[in-house]
Every structure is written in structure tokens, then in C-alpha cells.
């Protein structure tokens, strides 16, 4: 009876006695961990010595065996393509470990993240276009009318009104540009980053350099936009926090990937926990991670106190090319 229940459970399960020896387990446990040996050979073996069991689970089990009470949850263990949720609990001198396949949930999460970011960009694009093409020209027209009126009546009293309108017009252009750089859509990724760097070099203390090698015009629009936003965020961080004097941004196409590196000679980061604890910086970093995740890329940060900071982002290529 007990065996039948364990066999039929919709989760992978393994029960270990107080000495850490495997007492029983089911097929699902095997299939999740991709072990294709005989079940029986494992009965009686020490779980901590079974090499193909993920390290996290072993650490959890070890802890429960030592404490002789309590429980653990690992909400996400990645095993190749599979995402597993692992739970363990100490009951009756045994540890019961369950594994749950959460790949579908993960996939849904990933897809919804993609949709959220896409929707956010669409909304931004809409607002930017309305500001730039809708309100912009109306403002320009009113400035011109006012100008004409002032010339005709030789009346200078309205000069300050005109100046305010001109400021509003400039401001609208800036907002629209931040929401969606028109250059990116019309001239592509490389030109857009050149412009970003050029603008910063005119006002920031840090001197920016940009080097690109590859066929970035062929990238899908959404991919270009994501890479642009990633670079924007990284560059902003350099300007705001690094105290760097030089920053080198590179976008290089390799055979199968794009390597994006942002290298600065600033103060670096001593302790990474400050990055995630700081709320404002934290949000920027989270957004950055989401974008990298959508591009199926990886982030690597290398830094030490006063040794500058290098962020490397590697993005796989074939998926991101525009096939139309």
C-alpha cells in the first residue's frame, strides 16, 4: 500500500533515514534527475555520496539530519532544460524530499516577462510618437504665430512667453527621445549608441569610447531595442556611481554570439550586496537582468575596489536575427 502511494505521487520523492541512507524513492525522482540506473541499487546508499544528486539538495538534507528537525525549500533548481522545486522535511527520524517540475510555470513566467517588456516598449513608443509628432508641431506652430504677431505689432512684451514655449518644446523633444530614440528606429543600433556616447561626452566628466564590429543592422528591432536599453542602463550606472574617467563600450559579433562589454576605470564595487540592497540601483539592475534573460544571454560582472568595473553580456546570435 505504502509503496503504491509513493509510486503514484505526482512528485518525485525520496525518503532517507536518520543515518542519511536512502529508504525508498519513486520513478519520478529518477526521471527528474535523469538517472537511468536500477532503483534497487540505491536503497541503503548514503544520499550525500550519490554524485548525481544536486549539491543544494545534499546541503539541505545534511542540515536537517544535523538539526533533527525543520524543513527546506529550494524554489528553483535548474537542471539543463528542467526547472525543479525541491522541498525537504524532517519527520519521524527520516527526511522526506520531494521534487516538483516547475518548468511550465517558469516558461509562462518567461513569456509573460517578455510580453510585459514588449508592452512597456509599445506604450513608450506610442507616447513618444504622440509627443514628437502630435504635440511638437502644434507647439512649433504656436511659436511661429506668436513670433509673427510680435514682429507685426513690434510688441516685445510677449518675448518671455515665447521663451517659455521654446523651453517646453525642447523639453518635449528630450522626453520623447528618452522614451524612444528615433535614431535607433531609423538608423539602427550602432548609430544610436554613437549618439548616446556623443551626447554624454559633451556633458559628462567621464570620457566614453564606443567600438562596434558586426552586422547589427540585421538584428531584429526588438533585440536592438533591448541591447540599446541594456547599454543605456550600464552607461547611466557608470555616470552616476563609478567616478570613472574613462569608459569603453564594445559590441562585438563573434561566430555564434554577440559580446557586449562596458569597461570603466572607476571605484568599482566592493560588496555586491550593496547593489541589490540599494533600492534605486536594485530596480535598474533587475530590469537589466530581465532584458538579458529575454535575449537568452548571460551577465558577468568583474570588479574590485578601485579596480574599475567590467560588465560582460553575452547574447546568442541565431535566434535574434530578423528573419523577415
Amino acid at each position: 500500500m505504502e509503496q503504491t502511494i509513493i509510486k503514484g505521487l505526482p512528485v518525485g520523492i525520496c525518503i532517507v533515514n536518520s543515518k542519511g541512507e536512502v529508504r525508498c524513492l519513486n520513478d519520478r525522482w529518477f526521471s527528474y534527475l535523469e538517472f537511468d540506473g536500477e532503483q534497487e541499487t540505491l536503497i541503503g546508499q548514503k544520499i550525500l555520496e550519490i554524485f548525481w544528486i544536486p549539491r543544494q539538495i545534499k546541503i539541505g538534507v545534511q542540515k536537517l539530519l544535523n538539526q533533527k528537525k525543520g524543513s527546506f525549500v529550494f524554489s528553483e533548481i535548474q537542471l539543463d532544460e528542467l526547472y525543479i522545486k525541491a522541498k525537504g522535511i524532517y519527520i519521524d527520524n527520516s527526511v522526506i524530499i520531494t521534487l516538483d517540475d516547475i518548468s511550465v510555470t517558469k516558461k509562462v513566467q518567461f513569456e509573460s516577462l517578455k510580453k510585459i517588456l514588449r508592452a512597456q516598449e509599445m506604450e513608450r513608443r506610442k507616447i513618444a510618437k504622440e509627443l514628437h509628432d502630435g504635440i511638437g508641431p502644434l507647439l512649433s506652430a504656436s511659436i511661429l504665430q506668436l513670433d509673427t504677431f510680435m514682429l507685426e505689432t513690434k510688441n516685445e512684451n510677449l518675448l518671455s512667453v515665447k521663451e517659455i514655449l521654446e523651453d517646453v518644446s525642447t523639453e518635449i523633444r528630450n522626453i520623447s527621445h528618452n522614451l524612444l530614440p528615433a535614431t535607433l528606429m531609423d538608423f539602427g543600433l550602432v548609430k544610436a549608441i554613437e549618439l548616446l556616447v556623443e551626447k554624454l561626452n559633451n556633458k559628462a566628466k567621464c570620457s566614453f569610447n564606443f567600438y562596434a564590429k558586426g552586422h547589427f543592422l540585421e538584428l531584429e528591432k526588438q533585440t536592438s531595442l533591448n541591447i540599446y536599453r541594456i547599454i543605456q542602463e550600464l552607461i547611466n550606472n557608470v555616470v552616476r556611481h563609478s567616478e570613472a574617467r574613462n569608459c569603453f563600450v564594445q559590441l562585438i559579433e563573434h561566430e555564434e554570439t554577440i559580446l557586449l562589454t562596458v569597461e570603466d576605470d572607476g571605484i568599482g564595487i566592493n560588496d555586491f550586496s550593496t547593489l541589490s540592497n540599494n533600492k534605486r540601483k536594485g530596480i535598474g539592475f533587475r530590469n537589466l537582468r530581465s532584458r538579458v534573460q529575454i535575449l537568452e544571454g548571460t551577465i558577468h560582472i568583474d570588479t574590485a575596489e578601485n579596480k574599475g568595473l567590467l560588465t560582460t553580456i553575452e547574447i546568442p546570435l541565431p535566434y535574434n536575427f530578423d528573419e523577415t
Binding site: D147, T183, G308, T312
Partner: protein, 216 residues
């Protein structure tokens, strides 16, 4: 009389410009066009000296239209009148053949001055537009872009390259520069791709040939 045609997809703006220009004694606005087709219709009907051309004309592109016009109507001068103040638009418009570039919020005085200057055979690039062009020019002459070799290397890349020449292993380079092995590998991969060589030996050759290192 200078005969002007205004091409812009916003009616309010076209008409605003017309009202303004009609007050000038030597300027006549012959037609207002909201798209490319209307513009060609007007060109068939009237003699035109100068076209004031928007860049984003609904779904049509003022830069493309300008190219078409300079190829086919060499006697018509084109002044871009746009919301875009980004360098790329300005440069593309000049390349397409525009004789002047004005931002839509420039005053009526500049607009008339531009029309008169260009009618008399000149060009008109002032204020923000001239500044954007200068910035691009200065950036091209940025010191780091004009090193001995024309491929710019970052500070770290140069350091890594020097250590490679000195026969340091990845691990030794990592220790020397306080960076991870993975970062050393990233720099190496980028160097190989940038300098268009096949392997580490190629990097060493490049470094010596371009005097990035001095051999004693």
C-alpha cells in the same frame, strides 16, 4: 519673388508657416503639400525655388524625398524643417542634398534669413544644428580614436595583450590584473575578433608589429 513650397503632414504647421511667410515682401508661398503626391502635383503646376521639407511626413520619409528631388530637380533648393535635432538626421539630410536645416521651433527671423541666404546660393546651418555637426566632427578626432593602429583597444585589453606577449597564462594574467579567468578569456576572444587574427600567436604578432609592446 522667392517661390516657396511647404511639405509637412501637419495642417496647422503648414498654414502657420504660410501665414508667417506671406507677410514677407519678397516671398510667395505657392502651395502647401501634406504628402509626396501633393508635392509632385504642386511641382507640376508651379515654378518653385525653395522647398521647406519636413523629415517625418506621415509614413513617408523626407530624407528619401529630398534625394529624389535633388536627383531630378537640380534647380530647386531644399531646406529641412524638422523636429529632429539628432546629428544623424542632420547629416543624412545634408547628404541627401539639403542646403539648410532648421528646427521647427526656430523663430521666423531665422526662417526668413535661411530662405534669403539659400535663394542667393548659400547654405544655412546655424545654432543647434551647427553645434551637432561640430560635435560629430570633434568626436571623430577624439584622441583615443586616432592611435597608431586604427582599432581602439581598451585599457584592460592593452594590459592583457602585453601580458600575453610576456607569455603569462590566463591564470597568471587574472592574478596580475585582479580579474577573473573568465574576464581574461573574454578580453582574449574580443581581441582575436577585433584584430582579425586566428589565435594567441596572431595577437603577439599584432602587438609587436603595431608597437603596442617594446621588445628589449
Amino acid at each position: 519673388m522667392i517661390k516657396v513650397l511647404v511639405v509637412d503632414d501637419h495642417k496647422v504647421f503648414r498654414e502657420g508657416i504660410a501665414t508667417l511667410l506671406e507677410k514677407q515682401e519678397n516671398i510667395e508661398v505657392v502651395a502647401l503639400s501634406g504628402n509626396k503626391q501633393e508635392m509632385y502635383n504642386a511641382l507640376n503646376q508651379y515654378l518653385v525655388d525653395i522647398i521647406l521639407m519636413d523629415i517625418t511626413i506621415g509614413k513617408e520619409n523626407g530624407i528619401e524625398i529630398t534625394k529624389e528631388l535633388t536627383d531630378n530637380f537640380s534647380d530647386i533648393a531644399i531646406i529641412a524643417l524638422s523636429m529632429h535635432n539628432e546629428t544623424n538626421y542632420i547629416l543624412e539630410m545634408i547628404e541627401a542634398g539639403a542646403s539648410g536645416y532648421l528646427l521647427k521651433d526656430t523663430g521666423s527671423h531665422e526662417l526668413c534669413e535661411a530662405i534669403n541666404t539659400i535663394y542667393n546660393g548659400g547654405n544655412y546651418f546655424r545654432g543647434e544644428v551647427a553645434k551637432a555637426m561640430l560635435d560629430r566632427l570633434r568626436n571623430k578626432q577624439h584622441p583615443q580614436n586616432t592611435k597608431k593602429s586604427n582599432i581602439p583597444l581598451s585599457k584592460r585589453e592593452t594590459e592583457v595583450l602585453k601580458l600575453i606577449v610576456d607569455e603569462f597564462s590566463n591564470q597568471e594574467i587574472a592574478n596580475e590584473l585582479f580579474i577573473s579567468i573568465r574576464t581574461v578569456e573574454t578580453h582574449k576572444r574580443n581581441l582575436i575578433e577585433k584584430l582579425d587574427v586566428k589565435n594567441t600567436t596572431g595577437l603577439v604578432k599584432y602587438a609587436i608589429k603595431n608597437k603596442i609592446v617594446n621588445l628589449d
